[in-house]
């Protein structure tokens, strides 16, 4: 048995203290230890983007990080996107994806959302070109991306 390392990490505003194996992936930590299964794993290679979460506000791929690396840091996953968990309200980006059909099977959706949240934070008025560029780091096998670009434009417009 390999040794367990204690970590404490703030996820979606809740502090979690756990002892983990040093090689436990952050994606597995979130999905299996914390049961936050909204973060999906599509490739475990850092290519598809489905596992993207925010680490201190930056979009990162949780399949490329070990849980021990986020010790003492703050994470936001898709479950923490909506402004208020107790209400029905969604983040404007979530709302735009929902109503503008920015998804089909929905498996890629959380990853896109997390990248775009960070992106729009930094660049609230992106051009379509910029949106297409940032989205190009994610894979979606269903939509052909048009509706994802559309949804992002809608969200950007609304928050403008």
């Amino acid at each position: 048995m390999s040794q367990q390392i204690p970590i404490s990490v703030n996820v979606n505003g809740t502090l979690y203290e756990r002892a983990v194996e040093p090689r436990l992936l952050l994606s597995d930590f979130l999905r299996h230890e914390l049961e936050l299964t909204g973060t999906h794993v599509g490739c475990e290679h850092g290519v598809c983007g489905a596992c993207t979460v925010l680490l201190d506000g930056d979009a990162v791929r949780s399949c490329l990080l070990f849980a021990v690396q986020v010790d003492g840091h703050g994470l936001v996953t898709v479950e923490g996107l909506a402004p208020d968990a107790s209400s029905d309200r969604l983040h404007p980006l979530q709302e735009a994806f929902r109503e503008a059909h920015g998804l089909q099977c929905g498996f890629c959706t959380p990853g896109f959302l997390m990248t775009l949240v960070a992106f729009l934070e930094e660049n609230p008025h992106p051009s379509e070109r910029e949106i297409r560029e940032v989205i190009s780091g994610h894979l979606c096998r269903c939509t052909g991306y048009q509706s994802i670009v559309e949804a992002t434009k809608i969200a950007a417009r609304r928050s403008a």
Partner: protein, 787 residues
């Protein structure tokens, strides 16, 4: 009627409403539960599969002691431990769960292990010591043809006299088009969770398009009756055909391990194993011999389609049949022979993939037409139009089905106009004349795709509807949700039938215990069939409610009308739930099954003749490309699509299918290259080496229109048309646009040699090959000066 009340009386989410996907809210909040997200019971074990590293070999020794003694391991299974049949072939029994002595592809399952964690299981699986006696693998289509290795007998469809017509035709061309396969790359990999039940029964949660197949296979493997196995799936993270027959192996392995340990077992493949172990779209070589006149009209044609089926039959029979049925695409082939070879190779067994052989069949004839046009110096579009099926004559397919719903003449004309095809083509020629490095190309290609399973008996669907006394509805049917929106479509149909707001309709997971003996969610017809079955159930309930109203209030049936959440009975109006409660009090059954079988179809599988399809779906696309002749790189600045989705249940969902299908087809024909090494090992088994389209690969100017006048001429539920598969084949225009751009390098005098996928590397080679041919020809034409 007072118009102001119209809105108040229109239900939310009825047929024709472009409402969001039923799970959209859960998708964006992360709450949507996929199979791997289901909370597992305590004590659940995790499985991994040990696979062959050889494409063809005899296993001389299999030492699993190191596996069994690895940390956390609870059970290890091989072929000897299968209580029932060691087989998962969906049609023929020719595919083992665990290899028994001989392996026939690199990646074939040999044994399985269950351990306390997924890491432990995967690590343990790698510790097996397997010794092989290598046999020569047969890997390619050419090698299998030479060795005459088939998974199924070859078939031929013949009409008229192709030989004589070829001989008599003014022009004749021969050649071969090669096209590669395609990995499904559903974002969610294969996954199954097996939970043992009392009496030795098994509950399976599987990411599958075909719960009934998983149920039957697990039953066969465990030696149980079908009624002892229940399979459930709420949603998949994509399927595209890759979870039709392929899910059974993984569910079976999980079930076997659960059975032997008495504990729940979860099996979730990682991406590499998924790509190595699961079947793909069939690779095809299509050889043609075509005779035609000065206008490009085809007089006679012989097509030989050779496909790489892999090590077993799987669904290769119907896939290749469908390829044959689409070898005509939209064109009348009066004198024709179509031969199909289904080749056995030492590679993973190829399987269903959106289009199911249709795309390969169509690619063949589209290439031939393009070749004819280039030979005659004509616009390929002109030759396409010249050969189109007629409306009332020249309208019988090689398999003797009369086409009654052809709309392509008008559709192509409309698209040609709306896309400004002619002016853009002229501008492209002008551009190419003065642009030395960048070259543009354009192509318009049509799609005619037959809807129905070719195996007639599969064209049936069932539904189950409960109405509760508060007026809420529980809906279940045979369709499975893989993102295509079938749950939303069918719920909209039920909402419409019962005139209830859609939030009253509870969509529930597909479950073999609720609707039995189902067909796969495939062949694009899932909404057609399950929507009709659900409508049937809703109408049964409605009839019963009307009877209650008639009896109770002494009115005529015609005086009972359902309108938004209410029922009008004579001159009184009552909430829907009130009538339901009255029915319950009167002891009237509030649960109904519904059933549908597609009418009119019939088909002689021996002779490959009949009406295998209920109707056809049509569309056309114009793609424009610009290629860099120094690197082979390219991009598509603009794509225009006009597609006939009939009168769609939900136009937003239909549009998504068109856009997504097109981009997926574009991937198949452009960037998605599967590569096996000489030993038959797949080298492209992750997104780092296998490139599906990203947003940056899609056309920045993408104009997708659903045909406004769309109406299914057949009596399909609400006159919609199947839209899952047909749009994929619109992407054949991307390939031919690239070919057009390459042709410009030789001033359109020579036809490029290009195969699919047209990766940048292949485009560059095609450019250089064309330049070389051109140079050789110029040398030949020049009088040779002798000193």
């Amino acid at each position: 009627m007072d118009n102001r009340h119209n809105d108040r009386l229109t239900i939310e989410g009825g047929v024709r409403a472009a409402i969001p996907h039923d799970s959209a809210r859960k998708h964006v909040s992360g709450e949507a539960t996929y199979t791997d997200d289901i909370p597992v019971p305590d004590g659940t074990l995790y499985a991994a599969i040990g696979i062959s590293t050889h494409a063809h070999a005899r296993i001389t020794s299999l030492d699993l002691v190191p596996v069994a003694s690895a940390p956390g391991v609870v059970a290890v299974l091989t072929a000897a431990d299968v209580p029932g049949h060691n087989d998962v072939g969906p049609i023929l029994q020719d595919e083992t769960i665990f290899a028994d002595g001989v392996v026939e592809y690199a990646g074939q399952s040999i044994f399985a292990v269950a351990a306390r964690t997924i890491e432990q299981a995967r690590r343990a699986a790698r510790r097996a010591i397997v010794e092989y006696e290598r046999r020569e693998p047969v890997l390619t289509i050419d090698a299998a043809l030479a060795a005459e290795r088939f998974v199924l007998p070859s078939r031929t469809i013949r009409r008229g006299n192709p030989q004589a017509s070829l001989a008599a035709a003014p022009h004749r061309l021969r050649g071969t088009l090669e096209m590669g396969g395609q990995d499904h790359f559903y974002l969610e990999g294969q996954v199954a969770l097996a939970i043992p039940q009392e009496d030795g029964d098994m509950m399976i949660y599987s990411s599958t398009q075909h719960p009934t197949d998983v149920q039957r296979q697990v039953g066969r493997v465990l030696g149980l009756r079908v009624n002892a196995v229940t399979v459930e799936v709420r949603r998949m993270g994509g399927g595209f055909g890759g979870k039709e027959s392929q899910a059974a192996l993984f569910a079976s392995v999980a079930a076997l391990l659960a059975n032997v340990t008495g504990r729940p077992v979860s099996l979730c493949l990682d991406r590499d194993d998924d790509m190595i172990m699961t079947g793909k779209r069939h690779e095809f070589h299509i050889t043609y011999d075509v005779g035609f006149d000065d206008d490009g009209l085809i007089r006679g044609i012989e097509l030989v389609m050779a496909s790489r089926c892999g090590m077993s039959a799987d669904l290769s029979g119907p896939v290749n049949d469908r390829a044959m049925f689409h070898a005509d695409n939209a064109y009348y082939l009066e004198n024709v022979s179509i031969t199909s070879h289904r080749l056995k190779t030492n590679t993973v067994s190829n399987t269903a993939f959106r289009g199911f052989g249709g795309p390969q069949g169509m690619m063949g004839i589209e290439w031939v037409i393009d070749e004819i046009a280039r030979h005659l110096g004509k616009d390929p579009l002109e030759v396409r139009k010249r050969n189109l099926y007629g409306d009332t004559e020249r309208n019988v397919t090689p398999y003797e089905m009369t086409i009654e719903d052809n709309i392509l003449h008008q559709l192509i004309e409309d698209l040609e106009r709306s896309s400004d095809y002619q002016a853009r083509r002229a501008a492209i020629h002008e551009f190419n004349a003065t642009s030395p490095v960048l070259k543009r190309g354009i192509a318009l290609t049509p799609v005619k795709f037959g809807i129905s399973f070719t195996a007639t008996h599969l064209n049936q669907a069932g539904a189950l509807l409960h109405v509760f006394t508060d007026g809420s509805v529980h809906l279940n049917h045979a369709g499975t949700e893989m993102g295509q929106g079938v749950m939303t479509n069918v719920a909209q149909i039920v909402a419409e039938e019962l005139q209830l707001d859609i939030d009253r309709i509870k969509i529930t997971a597909t479950n073999t215990g609720k609707v039995p003996n189902t067909s796969a969610s495939a062949a694009s017809a899932t909404t057609d069939m399950n929507g009709a079955a659900a409508a049937d159930a809703a109408r049964t309930i409605k009839r019963r409610l009307i009877d209650v109203a008639v009896e109770r209030f002494r009115v005529e049936p015609s005086q009972v009308a359902f309108r938004r959440n209410e029922v009008v009975i004579g001159d009184r109006v009552m909430p829907f739930e009130e009538l339901v409660s009255l029915a319950h009090a009167a002891r009237v059954q509030l649960s109904a099954t519904g059933f549908y079988r597609t009418p009119k179809i019939h088909y002689d599988a021996e002779r490959l003749r009949g009406r295998p399809f209920y109707y056809f779906a049509y569309g056309a696309a114009v793609s424009e490309v610009v290629i860099d002749t120094l690197t082979g790189e390219y991009m598509f600045p603009r794509v225009d699509i006009l597609h006939d989705a009939g009168n769609p249940i939900n136009a937003a969902i239909a549009l998504g299918q068109v856009e997504g299908g097109f981009i997926q087809g574009m991937g198949w024909l452009t960037t998605e290259e599967l590569y096996w090494d000489e030993e038959g090992r797949l080298m492209t088994h992750a997104p780092s080496t296998y490139k599906i389209p990203a947003c940056g690969d899609t056309p920045p100017d993408f104009r997708v229109t659903l045909l406004e006048s769309g109406q299914n001429r057949e009596d399909v539920v609400y006159r919609s048309k199947a839209v899952g598969e047909p749009p994929l084949m619109l992407a054949i225009s991307t390939f031919h646009a690239i070919k057009d751009a390459v042709a410009s390098v030789g001033d359109y005098r020579l036809s490029p040699r290009l195969s699919a996928p047209a990766t940048p590397e292949r485009v560059l080679l095609a450019v250089e090959e064309l330049r070389a041919r051109l140079a050789a020809r110029l040398v030949q034409l020049q009088p040779i000066e002798v000193h």
